[in-house]
Symmetry: D2
Subunit: 343 residues, 4 copies
């Protein structure tokens, strides 16, 4: 029986979400989002962020990210982002597709985070003219692809720099719940300065539920056409909305994320000197070496190799309902690795 740490998308959906689906499955409702569940979900987002927002529900994180960017950036535009970003490495070119061919301009940065300095350097190295793509946006991930989290101060510094260069700010929040739970701040603070947020629920207890949240309502003008045109407007939208209602209800989303984060922190501590990155959300990056990786696999742990071929690195992701005993077992296994000198 494998112990799954491959990805939080290997986990099932939370019982509250399943119950909401069943509840939504009664009677008839208008299609395409013109239903009571969607209307209530939209209000719920406004409460979560403490301000009016425009929200569009979709079914995948890739569509949320790429459609959001398509609304911000023209085909001849570009988006500054981290070279490890999901939009760069894991979406098969969806941003390029949805924007009509805009470019991702890749920046380095520790912990998969962008800094104002890196952004300014990249802007300076790429002076614009009619011959160049036109920078229009910055995209960051919260939590990042390396399991780190931007503080509200870091966000404000980034967005100030972006804004002063005419760049809009997009946040890929596939693990936004983990970031908010980790920071212990409000959702608004965890997305300070952001123009558009791709807010994910799928990885943290939903079946397939993502939302694109526009904080500047005017920016959203053409989103609905892009969503429809890309085939992402569900006819029976109530089933997506119902997942969101359950997810946001009563703080479920933060409870689930906080539990995963706590487990991850324990695993990170157990990883000791093998640990590669700060564990600030639900992901742990380690370098057990080839032998260590083989040993962990032989004990039934499912996880991804990381980095270049032969790097000896691995990624573990903790899900919302990860069994305590799996976490205990992983901690023990990591501690037992010969290379590990736990502090």
């Amino acid at each position: 029986m494998p112990r799954w740490f491959k990805s939080d998308n290997t986990a099932p959906a939370a019982p509250e979400v399943m119950a909401a689906l069943a509840e939504a499955n009664r009677g008839y409702a208008r299609g395409y989002g013109d239903d009571a569940w969607t209307a209530r979900a939209e209000q719920r987002f406004a409460q979560v962020f403490g301000r009016e927002v425009r929200v569009f529900l979709v079914g995948t994180g890739t569509s949320a990210n790429a459609l959001a960017l398509a609304t911000l950036v023209p085909p001849y535009g570009s988006v500054f982002c981290h070279e490890q970003a999901h939009i760069v490495r894991d979406e098969c070119g969806a941003p390029e597709f949805m924007t009509g061919g805009a470019r991702l301009q890749l920046l380095p940065g520790a912990g998969a985070k962008l800094t104002p300095e890196a952004l300014l350097r990249c802007i300076a190295d790429n002076p614009t003219a009619v011959h160049t793509v036109q920078p229009r946006a910055v995209s960051i991930s919260q939590a990042t692809e390396l399991g780190t989290v931007y503080t509200p101060d870091e966000l404000r510094a980034l967005s100030t720099t972006a804004r002063s260069h005419g760049l809009l700010l997009h946040m890929d929040g596939a693990r936004f719940a983990n970031a908010v739970a980790s920071l212990g701040c409000t959702p608004a603070e965890a997305s300070a300065g952001v123009d558009v947020l791709s807010f994910g629920a799928t990885k943290n207890g939903a079946l397939a539920a993502e939302a694109v949240v526009f904080f500047d309502r005017d920016r959203a003008a053409d989103f609905e056409f892009r969503r429809k045109r890309a085939g992402h407007l569900f006819s029976k939208m109530r089933y997506v909305a119902a997942q969101w209602l359950a997810y946001l209800d009563d703080g479920l989303w933060l409870r689930l994320a906080a539990r995963a984060n706590a487990h991850a922190r324990r695993i990170g501590e157990a990883a000791g000197t093998l640990r590669l990155e700060q564990v600030e959300a639900n992901e742990i990056f380690v370098r057990p070496g080839a032998a260590g990786i083989a040993s962990l696999r032989s004990q039934g742990f499912e996880f991804y190799d990381w980095g270049a071929e032969g790097s000896g690195e691995a990624r573990f992701v903790v899900s919302w309902d990860q069994a305590d005993e799996d976490v205990d077992a992983l901690c023990a296994a990591l501690r037992a690795l010969p290379a590990n000198a736990t502090a």
Copy 2:
């Protein structure tokens, strides 16, 4: 309490489908379709069509259609289709988007059906050169947007004509179940000569489950990249696959469709001389006039106006779980319209 005949997408999901979702919600599974449910669903499609096929699951009919066409047609290509086709009127340009700008070339035809004659005329009227878009495919709907159905003979005639001009054949099967149930033939016969089928379950009892079925497996080579790139590869694919398993299991899909068809036939008969089209699936088109429409609305029937403004036409769609008493009420209301001279 309204009586809903607006669209089959206003109906809830079938209990068997909901039960399958609950069953799938156990334990961990690999993401992105590399799971047991998806594997089983793929085998099920092969059984349904009596041959090997390649199947890709998606969540909306628009994505199924547009991604299928993108696989068949280059950006400088064109697709012949009926001027009433869903891909023309109801997808906000998704085929153009997914193909990279291919064109839909619109044909007339009674009952929203294409004929070999209409196709040949359009080909003759549009001689090709380097200056023109290049015809590469034909797309038809089964059942059509006017509730009619192609017979296997009609399909074979169409596909023979298409093939002899180097055109591939796509079928929009958003209501394929209704067509098969209506024809009383096998699914293979109801899609005779088709290269790629967009097979829908959403309108007939699922929450959000569509499939793109390639009968020529070699044609499918790049579909998986296009699906991912368009944001239509679900991370928790098992939930889409589970819907399909329930839908195809034990003939559920055909039972639900047959029931809706039978209701529709009754309504069509009650419509008498008001009826505009043959009722061969689950849709009824009538011309009650402005007064008739107002009368029906005042009795609580929900439906769409049809045709140009002021046409006095209306569309009724019967869902898989339409209440008998709603159907009875609609039949009575139609019979009672002054303009109706039932045979």
Copy 3:
């Protein structure tokens, strides 16, 4: 020795244009339009239209049309145009490509002309919703693809109708010179109500010189990026600008067009009852039948068959330097056709 009436693009360039090229070929000049010739050309356009304009030079009519439309219409938009329009039949889908997949919505109309009535009917028949492409522009040709010309009054009526429905107006002026010469009005009157004009010189005496003229300067904001990105920004722009300077200088463009028009009028008269369309520019459409076509070909006339296969129709186009004797010969040949009952 053939007598060429195939197309005005089979003619050579005018000597004045060749001389201007030679004159421009002296010394060094900044690239990409930042040169004295381009600056002077831009001023010349302002004089021609009696108002400030923004002008962008390109090398082909297809690029002028498609880039202009891309500036007016979003990817999910649509353009109303005549079913015979060059953008429909002769650009291999360039408008769809440059706009990112917008749709051309085709209208009928005598003489390849749109009318406010046809436009209103098409708008009424295509009510918009999130599910439909969004109409954003109208495109007309001046002169049309059937050799007719819009009067200023017709243009004003069309643009008023377009504007009242939120539609911008594009004019394909590949033969704008012929239209202005035919109307005997100012260039401004011949483009009354137009937002963007594709102004051609290639067919009427240049080698390769087209211009996109924005009457609303604000609309042009992103054109320069689209032109560059599509590969249509010439590095040695002075050679395109020089063609325009010669073309517009001293009314050369109108003299050349007037001469071709006059020839065409004579041919149209000679065509008598064989003539299909009003001859208002430099094109003549006739129906000599299969035998008549064969007879004309055997006499050395080069021209295109027209219409559907077997229609017995033909198109003759008169070029700026068409030899008088070729015109005389064609007139005589047409008069001599048995089917021709000249009035």
Copy 4:
């Protein structure tokens, strides 16, 4: 009176090219490349490369590059190229546009050259899956953007590596003449292993003439549609073909390039320790510092700053007809710079 070293596109056209234009401007000719000049030009390319090729003429280097890549790479594909490549920095995203959104994956490399090692490293760092863009091609520049040249051996090594990973090889030959002249080899050797070559004439004596040369004729199948659709099929193609005929006639192209190269070599020697790159073609990169740059500008030299802001670097480009006295003056000015310790 400025001395121009800004770019080879600031130079006029060669007299032989102008004469060919005048010669081509006689009588009528079929449009769109179906003329005698184009046919002869196509044969000439076969002679130049000593093998059958398929050639398509266009008017700009950006269109040549982007259309060539669009033929090699699907929308979900990617192209490995140097981070300094023209397709990256100077085409406003044309490759992304023409390919439908494919990605450029950037590699470092001395002298703006790719090596098999850099390529292998990038391939190893970007393992592919359905979630990633799919590598399909490599693009290199000959001569490079830093004025260096690939030897035939280097080309063979690169193409072997590319081929063994299923990658096609594109060469941006905007300065192919300078490369061939520099290597003293045959054109075939200077493009060894290349699948498609963008062969430029504009910078080296033409007005606007580029060619896309397919060495594998089967790869060219859809190029003509892409060219037309992008607005790059000239109606009066003979004027582009005539430029090519003059350019390739009697070795003119190599004579002009050899002259520019020799001048550049002299300037490179004069630059002494200020020189940054090998001078193997017609470009010289130097670091005179801010004071040196100011001094050179004050002496009337026109050139571009290079590198990041404040780098103190500059680029000089020698044109085909650069005046000897301008070259002498630049050599003297460079030698006189205080920072220059000429060997």
